[in-house]
Symmetry: C2
DNA sequence: TTATTTGTTCGTACATTTGCGAAATACGAA
DNA sequence: TTCGTATTTCGCAAATGTACGAACAAATAA
């Protein structure tokens, strides 16, 4: 009995998992609506410790959904456009949208 | 500093979390494509123990994405249409589809 | 040099998730 | 009643996730 689960399904699950926390959902929606943000701004808005925020950002980075670029002294976060497009496409298919 | 995270974002995160595992993604895609299935069929296809499968089905049920109806001696699983539509709508908005 | 700003990493604690096999449940059939 | 089928629940172990504050790192400002 070999693996019936496709690579696409695994990829979709990976993206979904990264979206599966309210804080990360908030960050993603912000980035969809305004294309970029700074970690510092987020930590002022969100009721969590900086270290926790940092972990959530790392989770989104590891899933490939966002990327950070250094803009001393801050770090600017944006969607990873390529992967974001892939995620949209995968969800669009899955959800029949 | 109060909660900036909306109920919609929490709901979306909840759905995403339920989708965040390859086995559950597989089950959902199956239900999207064929509307219903039996737990027994799944356990023949998927390389996991029945008890594990049962847990994944419970997770999807708790998230509201699927529902099971008894058809002795089996249980038939289908998408929960209302919530599925809501999830589609939330994702459609989020992903700008 | 020392202080400040911005963000990550470390250590810790606790909760949740994932997985299994064994036992339990529910019910129709023999 | 006893047996067989279909599925869930239990008990357990291991891995992951969430969260915090303290310590650290890197670069600029004073």
């Amino acid at each position: 009995m070999q693996d019936q689960i496709t690579e696409e399904q695994k990829r979709l699950a990976r993206y979904a998992k990264a979206m599966g926390h309210p804080v990360r959902m908030y960050i993603l929606e912000l980035l969809v609506s305004q294309s970029c943000c700074y970690s510092g701004d987020l930590s002022e808005i969100l009721p969590i410790a900086k270290s926790t925020l940092s972990q959530h950002l790392k989770e989104l980075k590891d899933a490939g959904l966002i990327q950070g670029t250094i803009e001393r002294p801050k770090i600017k976060y944006c969607l990873n456009q390529d992967n974001w497009e892939q995620a949209r496409e995968l969800f669009r298919n899955f959800l029949r949208l």
